[in-house]
């Protein structure tokens, strides 16, 4: 019996119905991501990359089809069931950082640990912030940090609970090239250390090129993208 995939999508469909038309965003899509694999999903704006990420992470429900995490179907769970799976297994890094402005850097990193009921939330969060080089910024609020620093806090938050799968949505999208490069190094460095499965949605060729597999999402279907530069240019 083979080991289940870290992330698996089977015949995944997502339609959006407006008053006049039905729009197909994902069309009978299949995907399998091995444990520890780094996968980049690329595609044009509006191709449905973020929708796919949302479905794989259990943030949304598919119109039909299945999503399995470690062999367990999550698409038939209710919102609380999916939240529990996310809490146990997933970490997130977003384009707009998604830090809570009313919490300090340390409190932001502690939040998922506290939600998981960890008593050692504080030392774990401090260690995570130290790993991203922000040990001097623990009590700073997001607005007191630069964009790059905010994304580093978000990365620390994503890795702190030790997730088996990390979902990243355009993690460098809001950053300049130099800062973006630093963030890429950090993200992949930590990912390699932790051996986390990484599912990445991006426009950034340099970022996609760091992944073992690059998949192009086009017209609701995924295809292996041999040359990312080519896909991005198309």
């Amino acid at each position: 019996m083979h080991k289940p995939f870290a992330v698996e999508a089977i015949s995944l469909n997502k339609h959006v119905t407006s008053s006049e038309t039905t729009l197909t965003i994902l069309d009978d899509l299949d995907l399998a991501v091995q444990h520890g694999e780094r996968v980049a999903i690329v595609g044009r704006s509006g191709s449905g990359k973020s929708t796919l990420l949302g479905l794989l992470a259990g943030l949304d429900n598919p119109s039909s089809g299945k999503v399995l995490i470690d062999g367990t179907e999550i698409s038939n769970l209710d919102e609380d069931g999916r939240a529990a799976v996310r809490g146990r297994k997933m970490g997130f890094v977003f384009q707009s950082f998604q830090l809570l402005p009313s919490l300090t850097a340390l409190e932001n990193v502690m939040l998922p640990l506290q939600l998981a009921g960890r008593d050692d939330a504080r030392p774990l969060a401090e260690a995570a912030l130290s790993r991203v080089g922000l040990e001097q910024r623990l009590s700073h609020y997001p607005k007191q940090l630069s964009g790059g620093e905010q994304q580093r806090v978000a990365i620390a938050r994503a890795f702190a609970p030790g997730p088996s799968i990390l979902f990243a949505d355009e993690p460098t999208g809001n950053l300049d090239a130099a800062t973006g490069q630093q963030i890429i190094e950090l993200l992949f460095g930590l990912n390699a250390q932790a051996g986390t499965t990484l599912v990445l949605v991006t426009h950034d060729n340099a970022l996609a090129a760091r992944c073992q597999r690059r998949l192009l999402l086009s017209q609701g279907k995924l295809a292996e993208a041999a040359d990312v530069a080519e896909s991005a240019a198309s």
């Binding site: 949302g54 943030l59 939240a83 529990a84 997130f92 998604q98 809570l100 402005p101 009313s102």
Partner: protein, 834 residues
């Protein structure tokens, strides 16, 4: 515990981010206003009981025409209550050729148990002697104290001898003021006080003497309540138990109005604070959306989110209420010092009840006003993290406002203390909301029509109203209520309180003359002319006993209420008049026409009719000097007792009572220094009894003055709450407004254009709000003065115009202040922070 810890963290971070501050401040204000007034009225109630005690000379009194059984004394001793006994009886007192009927009171060393006796060495030319002092003893055996009136009538001074029955006793002091003299003002002759030990030797108490034996008790409230219950249960025939609720109607009336004013002030503050909480909860909830979406994303269950939100509500409610209670307690100390020497003694300490009500209010308001909106955060989808358009709370189901409105309604009834005032306020509140919604809607439509076809920044500003129709109405409502509080404060300070005080003008009657015989009327009127006293009326008075209602003989024992029984048992002072007195108000039925003179009709005072259970259309039979007179109740009047004018519980039309033996009564204002003229009149007609109510009137006036300060002080809470509403309404849309302004600037709008667009929008909101607020505040002030407090009200046009203009400028100015900081920042910086 995780939920609590997360909730606490959330509370702290929301606080430091400023999201919670307006909400929290409004909650604190609501609780502070309620508890401050609660603590204060609690203390006033305590003082009233004490003052009532001073009027009785005790906390409880048992009286009888026969010596009271020992059991009262034994029971008081058993309950460790302090007690004393007195005797009161009328008797002629003689000095040389002068003799005068006096009301003799014999007391023992313990008297009085409450209040004090004030004595002096000589009768003052005017009022109370400057040398008057509180006596720490009673008349020593063998000596008497006499009231100034008796001293004047008998022409005695301290040291002179008086014949009291078989004894000759020297006057050892002038009795200026006496605790226990608060009973029936019109029934007593001037006072002579003597030692109880001397009574047997005077030989005045014979078989058949009209003696009132009194047993007085004092102790703490609970002990007295228990003793009262025991005494009521064990009272024999003719024994009457009387507690301190029988305060003078003039003072009761003035304090009741003051309490209504205070309640109204606090109520306005609380309603405003609740509105501020509601307004502040909208951006608070909106800004919390991302937090809870993120929590959902990180694996928090709906149940956990619910727990966190409940804890957060609880923490906010608890901290806000505790702080509110503390501030309320401190604030009431200010109120109490403003009330100052309102009462003869310092105010008693307040009880704990206001703390409970404050906490209850705090939690209830959080649950009813904030929770329905906060609870919607449990439904925020985790996907909002990726799609920000999801889960926004821009529409509210009307049911989510229901608990808040229910709490406001409950608060109104509770604070108003009367169903009438409460219902009126609720109606006004609902009408105000409806009016605001209508005016905001109509105003928006008009403005949009006006702006059609016109370009420029004006249109942008007006379009702002259209983009946020719900918020525009909420903002107009918020501003209206805030402004209404400010205007109401100005009206109450300027008009209502002045009107109230004007109802007791400086020339209000300060003397009553009773027992005037028909042949003395001309003499009394001549005295008025000589003493330059205008408009003094002389009213006839016939004494009659109510013996049957609707032909059913009156059974006084059926009255459970002690006061009702007493009223039913005593003789009524019946009067007649062609016209209703100006300070009376017709509530039911109608006054008689001249064609109806002589018909068997009767107009009753409301309180009396209520107490005795009499109503319009009842036929009452009176026994007047052995003759029966049957009359129909054709009207019910409200009498303003605190105007100090002579008034009657029962009045009949002319032509019914003229043939019965009548005496006359008059009340008038005696200017300073005219006592000699009055004394001359009294010497000429020795049967006349003059009652000096100047002291009582001063007390009523003192209550008015001091309570006026107290009310203004409480209105400061409303002022703050009004400002909180204004601020909350302003910040409710600030985020959105800043985003729009930033985009406009990015698109090339100048700073001036952005400012003008914002000012136009707020000027529209300001004018609408000011209009509604001025109308509503004036209507409220008019209703309260005309129908609740029964004082005349005049619309203050100048204030209305001033309010309208200043509000129309104030709102856009405040908005500009709020926007200014953002306008100075470069758009890039703002875009980055959005």
């Amino acid at each position: 515990m995780m939920a609590l810890s997360l909730a606490w963290r959330q509370f702290r971070s929301h606080w430091s981010a400023g999201d919670l501050r307006v909400l929290f401040l409004a909650l604190v204000l609501a609780v502070t206003a309620t508890t401050a007034v609660g603590f204060f009225t609690d203390r006033i109630d305590g003082a009233l009981v004490r003052q009532g005690g001073m009027l009785l000379g005790a906390d409880l009194l048992v009286s009888s025409g026969k010596p009271l059984p020992e059991s009262y004394q034994q029971e008081a001793q058993r309950r460790q209550l302090s007690s004393t006994q007195t005797m009161e009886f009328p008797s002629m007192v003689v000095r040389g050729e002068h003799s005068q009927l006096a009301e003799i009171k014999a007391v023992d060393a313990e008297f009085p148990l409450r209040g004090e006796l004030v004595i002096s060495e000589q009768v003052a030319a005017v009022g109370v002697s400057d040398a008057a002092r509180a006596a720490d003893v009673i008349p020593s055996p063998g000596s008497v104290w006499v009231e100034p009136r008796l001293a004047t009538l008998l022409d005695v001074k301290v040291g002179d001898l008086l014949e009291v029955g078989e004894r000759q006793m020297p006057v050892s002091a002038i009795l200026e003021r006496e605790a226990s003299r608060g009973g029936d003002m019109f029934s007593f002759a001037p006072r002579l006080m003597m030692n109880l030990a001397d009574v047997p030797s005077t030989g005045l108490i014979q078989y058949g003497s009209r003696v009132k034996y009194q047993f007085l008790v004092a102790g703490d409230a609970e002990q007295i309540r228990q003793y009262s219950a025991w005494a009521q249960a064990n009272a024999g025939k003719g024994e009457r138990v009387q507690d301190v609720s029988a305060a003078r109607p003039e003072i009761r009336s003035a304090l009741e109005k003051a309490r209504q004013f205070l309640g109204l002030s606090a109520m306005v503050g609380v309603i405003l604070a609740i509105v501020a909480m509601f307004l502040a909860s909208l951006p608070y909830v909106q800004r919390s959306l991302d937090t809870y979406a993120l929590m959902r994303c990180f694996g928090a269950s709906r149940k956990l989110i619910m727990q966190i939100l409940l804890w957060q509500t609880f923490l906010t409610g608890l901290l806000g209420s505790l702080l509110g209670c503390l501030l309320g307690y401190l604030a009431q100390a200010g109120l109490a010092s403003l009330a100052g020497s309102l009462f003869l003694e310092t105010l008693p300490q307040p009880g704990w009840w206001p703390v409970l009500t404050g906490l209850l209010l705090g939690f209830l308001t959080m649950l009813a006003v904030v929770w329905p909106h906060l609870a919607r955060l449990t439904d925020v989808p985790a996907l909002r993290i990726l799609r920000r358009d999801l889960g926004s709370i821009d529409r509210h189901h009307w049911l989510s406002f229901f608990p808040g409105i229910a709490v406001i309604a409950g608060m109104i009834y509770w604070h108003a203390g009367s169903f009438k005032l409460g219902s009126a306020t609720i109606l006004i509140f609902l009408a105000l909301l409806l009016l605001i919604a209508l005016m905001a809607w109509a105003g928006q439509h008009l403005l949009q029509r006006f702006s059609d076809g016109r370009g420029g920044v004006w249109k942008l500003g007006i379009a702002g109203l259209k983009r946020r129709p719900g918020m525009a109405v909420a903002q107009v409502a918020g501003f209206s209520l805030g402004l209404m509080a400010l205007i109401l404060l100005a009206l109450v300070r300027g008009d209502l309180l002045n009107n109230w005080q004007a109802s007791l003008p400086p020339d209000a009657p300060n003397r009553f003359i009773i027992n005037i015989q028909p042949h003395q009327i001309e003499g009394v009127k001549a005295f008025f002319t000589n003493a330059d006293i205008p408009n003094a009326e002389v009213f006839p008075m016939v004494r009659g006993r109510l013996i049957a209602v609707n032909d059913t003989p009156l059974d006084t024992s059926k009255y459970v209420d002690e006061r009702a029984r007493r009223l039913a048992e005593r003789e009524f002072n019946l009067s007649w008049a062609a016209d209703m007195q100006a300070d009376n108000q017709m509530l039911e039925g109608r006054w008689w026409t001249s064609a109806e003179h002589g018909q068997p009709q009767l107009s009753l005072e409301l309180d009396l009719a209520d107490t005795l259970g009499l109503k319009l259309g009842d036929w009452l039979t009176y026994d007047i000097a052995g003759t029966q007179l049957k009359v129909e109740v054709t009207s019910i009047r409200k009498v303003e007792w605190d105007t100090m004018r002579a008034n009657f519980f029962a009045v009949m039309p002319p032509g019914l009572l003229e043939n019965f033996p009548a005496s006359y009564i008059t009340s008038f204002h005696l200017p300073l220094g005219n006592d000699q003229a009055l004394n001359a009149l009294v010497r000429e007609y020795t049967n006349l009894t003059v009652i000096d109510v100047a002291a009582l009137m001063e007390q009523v006036r003192g209550i008015m003055d001091k309570m006026t300060h107290a009310i203004e002080y409480v209105f400061v809470f409303s002022l703050f709450a009004g400002l909180a509403v204004l601020y909350a309404a302003l910040v409710a849309t600030r985020e959105e407004r800043v985003r729009e302004a930033t985009l406009l600037r990015v698109l090339g709008a100048s700073r001036r254009q952005v400012v003008l667009a914002g000012l136009t929008e707020f000027a529209c909101i300001g004018v609408l709000a000011a209009l509604v607020a001025t109308l509503a505040a004036s209507a409220l002030a008019w209703y309260v003065s005309a129908y609740i407090l029964n004082i005349p009200y005049q619309f203050n046009l100048l204030l209305a115009i001033l309010a309208l203009i200043s509000a129309s400028l104030l709102v856009p100015f405040a908005a500009w202040l709020g926007m200014r900081g953002f306008l100075d920042q470069p758009p890039r910086q703002l875009l980055h922070s959005m």
